[in-house]
């Protein structure tokens, strides 16, 4: 019987079985950022421990950095203190930092792949739940808490319980104007926000295999929103082509051996899975969330649910969501007025996202009264976009063109909703208060749909603006 990728990568990185029965798993790549690492470094100091393999740990700054002016010291003294902490920690412990003075700075889940750090068959951990992003390369990548960041720093290992694997096949092909974001929102709607607890998701099928790496990253990124700590796609030619020539990818002389090594991790044809489901990708349209978790979404031409028609287990949550959002049950989602439009984040802040959104922005104007932001996921994404003139397209349309960072995805920096503002957002979470105002409201959608909503001043089907 064959093995799946998770089983192979797991075996390759197993150090030993722990006395607890858990696996001591070696972590091939550890990514850190300014929010979840300072307490971990402090514990190393208290315990007199070193970073075991500094060459396997990389740091960047993203969550708290302002996207307007990144001049130091930051106005926010707490944020400045965190910056100083990560700079000091990286210097003292010998960890490479892509800081604000480095062209490689950006959102950690954009930077890792961009630099060629993220590779097939690896185990990757980071103190951030969206670490699942890196699974797009056929890596086993997952978010960890700060105590585990400490564990990886000092031992390069984690104590892990086994994971089951659910294979999710997306068949057919996506219609024009339908994107990776729409696919993952449909998957989470189908399987629920806790459907993936205890599972890794293996994404497969024609829709996934024909996707670019950036699209696969958007899918894997939101695995955690479906409860799955890990999501991955088997590596293929698309993966290897993306990696070739990147700064930390293997060099030309080692290339063939590396590809052979990577290929060996792909799930065998006769691999077994703990569960398998299939979804018709051809039937999907643009999706928009209407509630307070990423599973509460509807196609843009659809209607909000009628509570009494929902399964009993979903009614309470739907009622709470409708009340918080101030939406009527059974209403259309299209036509919902918005106050803020946010394009960016580790889900959808890459160059292909900006290119697609710019198609809608080109020659149009942001609706009066809508605050619209475009925040590149990294400095390199920003540079690339500027070399293509995308920043001018956005600015001429009335979008603000910002510097790289997490921005309004999570509001740990100055970019925040105010009061009851309603935001069309290309980010990953529509939780109450997520975008910085405790009463602020979020509609998740693809970057193209956000751009279209910014222009119309309300939720619209972006396909009407995309043309042929």
């Amino acid at each position: 019987m064959g093995k799946n990728l998770l089983q192979k990568a797991w075996e390759q990185h197993t150090v030993r079985e722990l006395p607890t029965g858990q696996t001591q798993l070696f972590i091939g790549l550890h990514l850190i950022h300014e929010v979840t690492s300072p307490q971990a470094f402090e514990e190393l100091r208290v315990r007199g421990l070193d970073v075991r393999y500094p060459s396997r740990t990389f740091a960047t700054v993203d969550h708290i950095v302002p996207t307007h002016s990144q001049e130091r010291p930051f106005v926010d003294t707490l944020a400045e203190e965190m910056m100083v902490a990560i700079e000091t920690n990286c210097r003292e412990f010998g960890v490479q930092l892509f800081g604000l003075d480095d062209d490689r700075q950006g959102i950690v889940h954009v930077v890792g792949p961009e630099q060629g750090l993220t590779q097939p068959g690896m185990t990757i951990a980071c103190g951030d739940s969206h670490t699942s992003t890196h699974g797009a390369f056929g890596a086993i990548a997952f978010g960890i808490g700060t105590s585990q960041v400490r564990d990886v720093l000092c031992s390069q290992c984690l104590a892990m319980d086994p994971l089951k694997v659910r294979r999710i096949e997306v068949t057919g092909s996506l219609a024009p104007g339908v994107y990776a974001k729409d696919v993952i929102l449909a998957i989470i709607r189908e399987l629920g926000v806790k459907g993936g607890t205890g599972f890794a998701y293996e994404y497969s099928g024609e829709v996934i295999s024909s996707m670019s790496m950036e699209e696969r990253m958007s899918i894997c990124n939101m695995s955690i929103e479906g409860g799955a700590r890990v999501g991955y796609v088997n590596p293929d030619e698309t993966t290897y082509e993306y990696l070739r020539g990147r700064p930390f990818a293997p060099s030309e002389e080692g290339w063939e051996d590396a590809v052979k090594y990577w290929e060996s991790f792909a799930s065998d044809e006769d691999a077994e899975f703990d569960d398998e489901i299939s979804l018709d990708g051809s039937a999907l349209g643009p999706n928009v969330t209407w509630g307070i978790n990423p599973g509460q979404s509807v196609q843009v031409d659809g209607r909000l649910p009628t509570v009494s028609e929902l399964p009993e287990g979903e009614r309470e949550s739907a009622s709470e969501a409708l009340e918080f959002m101030e939406f009527e049950q059974g209403a259309s989602i299209a036509g919902t007025g918005i106050d803020v439009a946010f394009i960016g984040s580790c889900t959808n802040g890459r160059i292909s996202d900006l290119r697609e959104a710019a198609k809608v922005a080109l020659g149009r104007k942001v609706s009066p009264g809508v605050k619209a932001l475009v925040v590149p996921g990294s400095r390199l994404v920003s540079e690339q976009a500027e070399s293509e003139g995308l920043h001018e397209v956005f600015m001429e349309a009335g979008f603000e063109w910002r510097k790289a960072g997490c921005s309004m995805c999570l509001a740990m920096n100055p970019d925040k909703l105010k009061g009851r503002e309603l935001s069309a957002s290309s980010s990953n979470r529509n939780f109450k208060g997520r975008q910085g105002s405790p009463l602020g409201r979020t509609l998740l959608m693809s970057p193209v749909m956000v751009a279209a909503a910014a222009i119309a001043g309300e939720v619209v089907d972006a396909r009407e603006m995309l043309g042929d």
Binding site: L18, G21, L49, M122, F142, S147, S155, K194, E316, R434
Partner: protein, 200 residues
Amino acid sequence: MSESRITGAAGRGIPVRGDDIDTDRIIPARFLRCVSFEGLGEHAFEDDRKNFSDGVHSFDREEFQGASILVVNDNFGCGSSREHAPQSLMRWGITGIIGVSFAEIFFGNCVANGVPCLTLDSSQVDEIQGLIEGDPGCLLKLDVENRSVHAGENTYPAGLPDGVQRAFLEGLWDSATLLLEASAAIDEVNARILPIQEQS
């Protein structure tokens, strides 16, 4: 460092009702602008408490002050990996949690901090929430060894993964020391996987 074995937790209960309560609600992101976990306790559920539409949030109710066992519903702690979430609950005074289910990263963060999270059926959790709402002085007891919850007159068999149970009972839940024991084996794995090198 933990030599400490954890066999359970006991105290008065405090209910927080609702499914899918995410870590942004447990501790809003603005409180993560810090380099230590100190002081997070007072901000637990801060925005939920301020904007609570159904009377007074249990974290603000007089009768639940001093409680130490949190009783929650399904998929508690979903969302972000922030350890600030269990840290804020612990610093408020929580030493154990009973729920229908927990999001994985949150659960792992609780284990790393020695906070047992035991699972029960939805109807049993409802029953216990009702019990402590009616009688806030009622004592709850989480028994890690026997995997059970005692509430008032009742004992409920509860869920806890084997590895986590052993980690608590044998004092191995603070994993850093344990992981470092296998030093030679760690080096072996490091040698058999690809190194990370910048191309010159």
